[in-house]
Every structure is written in structure tokens, then in C-alpha cells.
Symmetry: D2
């Protein structure tokens, strides 16, 4: 089989006494010099992050980190109960839940915003067309609606305020607000921009590549899940979760 | 089966218009107010982090994030090639490598430091006993030695300097330096304190619970792996890795 | 939040001295009475399997189990090297590679066969339309082509022969052969039906639900990966794989 | 870094028109000729399996496959709900639960049986010593006890009967029965040999290597989990599980 030309990497290299990440000396230029969030931006973009980028990414990472007892958290706690000597397994199990159902809407919303921003016919007609086609197909619009936070998700306005205060250009946020107006109009009622929508706009503002928008959620959730493992190690809920679920789902011969 | 008393959680709760994490209002007190690193500390300890804790945790997270083409990175890239629509799977696969062989030594070193700090006979005799018993059993000491960085791992002194500058108490670092002296003496040659040892000491200084020391590495590595997924999406190495390995491992009838 | 009506399960239940799976007494009717393959069929369909179903599923599971040094195998071996105390992690890491790139084509082919079999205009026109539309879009047809096995994948005719000898109805195989003829005609050259295509047809013949076609590959590959873990535990390749890949992928400043 | 001598593999190789697994021609000698269970044994041992080995492994795989709503099943169902387009992720998440808490006891029991069989002072004194030391340390003996199946796990006698009927040598089963007698005597009450104990003895009888005893459970459970994914795709329980658990675990300010 042809293995093709050898690919290269531009991420890291090391010598006996030096380690370079993205061309910078890890020891002299990065450790103790950058925050973790700045380092993430530097790793993902290869550029020293601006203050605006850092503030905005911090806000996104803080927002997505913790949501209480979610499907991911339940999976993590049960796997930690089953394999307590393998902490990384429990985090990995929970992260496998950062998929299309929940976080996928962040990617979906990012795609809609990009579509609106690049529409040759102009942003507003495209936003209207998107809202109306979702309405016709009775599909939820990615980044809109929340089962609990009604009429409005309290996180979204704060995310916008932080980003604006930090000096973003504002075009992704504007596109999302435009889409919001058209969604309300097409559906004939107010549907909140949720936190997934808000974070999608913010990541667009700071130039996070579309391919890894979901990865930002993975990083943030990994920290949230570590917190749940710590609580699980001190106040084990695993057996209780197991038996509660086993009791609640009854057996039935009908398939 | 008895499911036991219902456990509680102290991490998060929400109402229609409020979300609380660790008792703080997510929107008013956390988003835009804390960095991601501060939020991790707040999540894990339930206390507002000091500047010292934040600086030290940032240094640890920056140090552990990226090591070039590691086993975890190779696993992540191959799984991304195999299931590109499931980014979270590729990160999870790589994180499953944050196990005993590499990062486990961080936990092991943290345990040695705690043993030294709590030894009723005093720190120095215990450090000597540890070094000598490892020497006798010809076992490597967790946190010591590096296959490439000889005679010294350049990250360790920087980690110590950052922590000292940030105002840590210094007892874990002192215990590690004491152990280092005894290790050199017992083994009859200089063996470097590696980055795993250095980060173990720093996490001890800022009170990260032993149960989740490995979790800090998981958080940091998750960001490193997202960077490799981004590069993989642009310069695919998966097929090349596959065929290179397949060519290099020859078939043999001898089992 | 509304949690909806309580769902039920029809899979298993137990009392103090009895365990029932799919309504059968595990001890009296299943252990020692069914082979593993028969038990899988019983679990998935709720019906005692016919001899035809069992023979065909055995052939599929044997075919998919082992392919030498694949991306999944490399991931499994590297994670086993990194966390040897957590065998299940290494298998899980490899199984995460049973995704769209390789095994997904099995699902895709199964979908094409169903489309052909249910086409109101008849099977042949639909097979032709599928082949031609793939040709126009220069897309590979799921279940066709193999980088190494040219002109023909040797597994496919054997799979057909086993299924026919076992007495399948034959309509999925016929649909695949029809599609093959149209593919060759549309593309103007012979493109082999590969093992993924062959197994997709066989699983259709025995009524494996489309939703879990990929799951059959997961079961089979899990056994293949366990074999690689055993070899890895005796002849470790992990460090060699790592350093071979690290040497082969050069650093470049160009991003 | 020295990558060491190139390791070899003895598992599979292929040419343009041939695929060999363990030296046998996959098409001519394995597909349609071996059952999946026979193929697993051939893959793991490199030897054509005896009828005894096959019958015993089938019994073990049938026994371990399905246990109703377990922690692994709950994790699998929640991850399937979160990422329904990535079936392999949901199975991988559940398999990460095949760890020390549940299945690890199978490995532990296998180790005890080997210790008894190889004891220079004879099997009975060693069995007694093991039972008594566990009693003194108030530790459960691996392979003994069951929270629900009292006084006896109904699976164990059937497993023994199947193995004896299949013609095993019987020394591992005898060692387990010996240990059982000593356990009852040391603890002063009857403690059942559970299915984990029974399967450990059976795998010893047919020469499954200790390193991969846990892997046999992984293979069997993967099939069980696929069945739960199928049910989940038809009668979704994920959201119900989530909200049931979220309701049951109350928030408390006390940490």
C-alpha cells in the first residue's frame, strides 16, 4: 500500500536541553509566562493570543465547564465506581457524551453564523431563509431554545457583554442576534438564544477554527468531570445511581 | 438490593433564571470574572483561588499540555482518521493513555512527598530510606529520570522558580529536593528530577487533592490533543502512521 | 424538566434464584445450550436463531475479527503500553476506531441494498441509478473497492458461498451482485465487492437490524483486539511503534 | 531515544489474494469452517481448539453477556443518547466499566486458583491460608459472595456441570471447590461461589492466559451492550435515566 508522502508536524520538537512548542521555548517563554487559556490559544493558532481572545475563551471555557448531573457526569461517575484505579477511563467515558445531541448544536450554530456572514444576498435575507426553512421542517434551530431556562437563558447576554467589553469585532454576535430576530418572527414566539449559541458566536469572534469548536467543549468538560470524580471519591453516588435506575426501568415482555 | 442513603452533590444547581456552581452565581460571579484556571480551582476546592494557586496551576497545565508525537497523540490521530465525525472519540482515545506508565509517576511521586512530609522519624531519614529501598529493588523512583533530557530536565527548575516567585510555602518542593539528594547518593550518580516530579510537588504546594492529581494531567492533555486533531484535519498523518507501523512490524511464525 | 413516561426493558430480569434473558432461563436454557453466536442472535432478535442465521453470523464474525496491524490495533497497543493495568481501556480505545472511515461503509452498503430491494421502479433501475450517481460525483460506492486485494477481495465469494449453502433467501446477495454489475458498467472497469460489502449483504439476509450493523463489527473486533493485547503483553511493540512514528514525522515550521 | 529491536507479530499477514490469520488461510480454512468462539480460541492460542475448549468458552461467554441494567449498560445508553451517530462510542463507554470493581474479581479469583494449584505445601493448606487471611483482614474473597443470589448463585453449578460434561481435567474447578469449603469454614457461614468465580475456574481449565481473562469479559459484554443499544434506539431510556438521577441526587451546601 502506498503510504503517501511523509506528513510533517508543526507543533513541538525537543533537543537534549530544550523543548519547543509552536516555535517557542517551553521553559523560557511559556511556563510561568502564559496562562493555560493563553497556551491553548497559542497551541491552536500558532500566534500569541490577544487580550481579547484570551478573555473571550476564558468566558467560554468557564461557561461550558459545569452543568450539574448531566448524562456525561452520570457515565463518568458509574465508570469511576467500576474502575476507580483508572481515573482517565471515567473522564474519557463522560467525554464520549460530548456529541451531536448536546454540544453538536454548537458546531451547527457556528455553521449557520458562517453561512449568514458569507451569504452573497446579504445577512438578513439568509437569516430569514434559515429561520423559515427550519420552521417549515419543524426543526429546532441550532443554538436556540432551552428546556429549563425560559424565556431566556441567562448565560447568553453575559457572554455577549464580556465579548463586547473585551473588544471583539462583533460580526458573529450580530449575525446571531439577527438570526434570533428572524427565528422569533418565523416561529411566532420568542425562543431564547441558548449558551451553545452564545459560545458558538464567541468562538467565531476569536477565530477558533470550525473543525475544533467541539474540542473547546471537550477541554472545558474534562475539567468539570474531574470535579465530579473528586466528589464521587468522597461521597460515592455510583451504587445509588445504579440501583435507582435499575428500580425505575421495569421489565416488560412486550418488545 | 439496598441502594443505600441518597448521596448529595455540592457542585451545581439551577433554577429557571439562575445557575449556581459551588454556590456562586455562574452568570454574575464566574463568567467573565474568573479565568478557566481559576474556575478549575474553584470547582475542585470550593474556595476562591489565591493568586499563588492560580499561577502555579497555570504553570503545571502549560507544562503538561504538549509533548509532540506521544503514544496518546498517535492514538488520537489514528482514531480521528477512523471516525472524523466524532472528534470527542479521538480525544477520549488519547486520554485513555494518561495511565500508570507515564502520568502515573506523578501520582507516585506525590505519594512519596506526602510520605516524607508526614514521617514521624523526620523527612531526611525517610527520604534516604525511600531512595535506598528503590535502589535495592532496582526500581526507578517516581518523578526521577528522563530518557532524553540528560543530565537535567529543563522544565523542573523553571517550575520551582515560578512556584517560589508565586509565594508557595515550599515544603513539597523542599521534600522533593531532599529526595533528589538522597536518590543521587543511593544510586551513585545524578538522576534528574523530571517534569512529572516537579509538577507533583507544585500540585502538593497548592493543595490539589491526591485523588485527582492524574485528573490535572487529563485536563491539560485534552487541550494538547485538540491541537493535534486540528493539525490532523489539515495535514492528515493517520494513513502514513498506519502504513509506516504496518511495514515496520514484520510477520513471524515464531510466537 | 419532564422526564417522560418510564421506559421499560425487555432484555433481562432476575429473582433470588433465577436469571432470565429475553424470557429464557439463563441457567436452564442458555448456558451450555447455546453457542455465543446463538446467544448474540437470541439477545438481538428475541427469537431462537435458525441454523442458517447462526452459520451466517459466525462467518461474518470470523471474517471481521482480524486484519493485522490496523489503526485500531495500533491505538490498542499504545494504550495498553500506557495503562497496562486497565486492559479494558486499550480495547475501548481501539473500538473507537470502528467508525465511518472503515466500518461505516458496511452500514452504507446495507442502506444501498435496502434501497435497491424496496425501489418501486424495480431493483435494476435503482442499482443503475446508484452506480451512475456515484460515478458522476466521483464518490466510491460503499462496499466496493480495496487498496490491496485486486482485482478481487477473496473473502466475498466465500461469504456468498457459505450463506447460500446455509440456505439464505438470497435477495440481499442478489441486490449486491446487481449493484456490482452496474458499478462495473458505470465506472468502466471492474471494482471488487469488498468484505464490508459482502458482510453487509449477509447481515441483511439474516435480519440483523440496520441500527446495529456497526455493532456486529464492534463485537468481532473486540475479540481481535484482545488477541493483540495478548501478543503485546508478551512481545511489547508499543515503545517501538511510538519511536518509529516519532522519527518518521518530521518537524516543520511551515503550518 | 533507542526504540529497541523491531518486534514481530505472529497474528496476521496478507498478500494480494490471500489473508492468513495465525498461519491459516482465512478464506479456505476459517470463514464458514470455524464458529466465532472457535476463531477466538484459535486467535488467542494459535492452536485449533478442542471441542472441550469450545463448549467451555461458549458457556462462559453466554454467562457473562447480559446482566440487565448494570453501570456499564447505563453508561452505554446515556452516551448513545448523547452521540447516536457514533455507536462504537457508546459501547466503548460501557466497556470502560469492565474494571476492578466487578470483573476484576474474575482475575483475582483466577490468581487465587493458580496459587492453590502451584502451592508447594499442597492445595488444601494453601486454600485454608487464603481463606483465613481474608477473614482476618475482613476482605471479601474474589469469586465469592453475591448481593442478590443467596444462598447460592445459580450459574455456578451449571458452569461446573457443563465443563465436566465437556471433559475438562477439573483441577481448577477442584481448587475452587476446595477454596469454597475453606471459605465457609473460616467465615463461619456459607458464602456462595459466584459466577465470576465459576467463570474464572472454567477459563483456567481451558488454558486462557491470565493476562487476558478480563478480555474474555470484554468480548462477551460488548455483545450484551450492543443489545442494549438496539433497545435504546427503539425505546429510548436515556432522557428518563438522566432526569431520574438528577432528581434523586439532591443539592447540598455541605461538602
Amino acid at each position: 500500500m502506498d503510504r503517501g508522502a511523509a506528513p510533517t508536524t508543526s507543533i513541538a520538537r525537543s533537543t537534549i536541553d530544550k523543548i519547543y512548542v509552536r516555535g517557542a521555548d517551553l521553559v523560557d517563554e511559556l511556563i510561568g509566562e502564559l496562562t493555560f487559556t493563553e497556551m491553548i490559544l497559542f497551541h491552536l493558532t500558532g500566534q500569541r493570543p490577544s487580550r481579547t481572545q484570551t478573555v473571550v475563551l476564558d468566558a467560554v471555557l468557564v461557561t461550558l465547564m459545569e452543568h450539574g448531573i448531566t448524562p456525561s457526569v452520570i457515565a463518568t461517575r458509574l465508570i469511576y465506581h467500576s474502575a476507580p484505579d483508572s481515573l482517565q477511563s471515567s473522564i474519557a467515558a463522560g467525554l464520549l457524551g460530548v456529541g451531536t445531541t448536546f454540544i453538536g448544536t454548537m458546531e451547527g450554530c457556528a455553521a449557520l453564523l458562517q453561512e449568514i456572514l458569507e451569504a452573497p444576498e446579504g445577512a438578513q435575507p439568509r437569516a430569514r431563509a434559515i429561520a423559515e426553512s427550519h420552521r417549515e421542517r419543524r426543526r429546532p434551530v441550532h443554538g436556540f431554545g432551552h428546556p429549563q431556562h425560559k424565556p431566556d437563558d441567562p448565560r447568553t447576554p453575559k457572554l455577549f457583554a464580556v465579548a463586547e467589553r473585551a473588544g471583539v469585532k462583533g460580526n458573529h454576535i450580530a449575525a446571531l442576534k439577527l438570526l434570533s430576530k428572524e427565528v422569533d418572527s418565523a416561529f411566532g414566539r420568542h425562543i431564547t438564544i441558548n449558551a451553545t449559541g452564545g459560545t458558538a458566536a464567541l468562538l467565531g469572534e476569536i477565530g477558533i477554527p470550525r473543525e475544533i469548536v467541539r474540542g473547546i467543549a471537550v477541554i472545558s468538560r474534562s475539567a468539570g468531570l474531574v470535579g465530579h470524580v473528586l466528589e464521587e471519591s468522597r461521597k460515592p453516588a455510583g451504587p445509588f445511581i445504579w440501583h435507582t435506575v435499575d428500580d425505575a426501568i421495569k421489565y416488560s415482555d412486550e418488545i
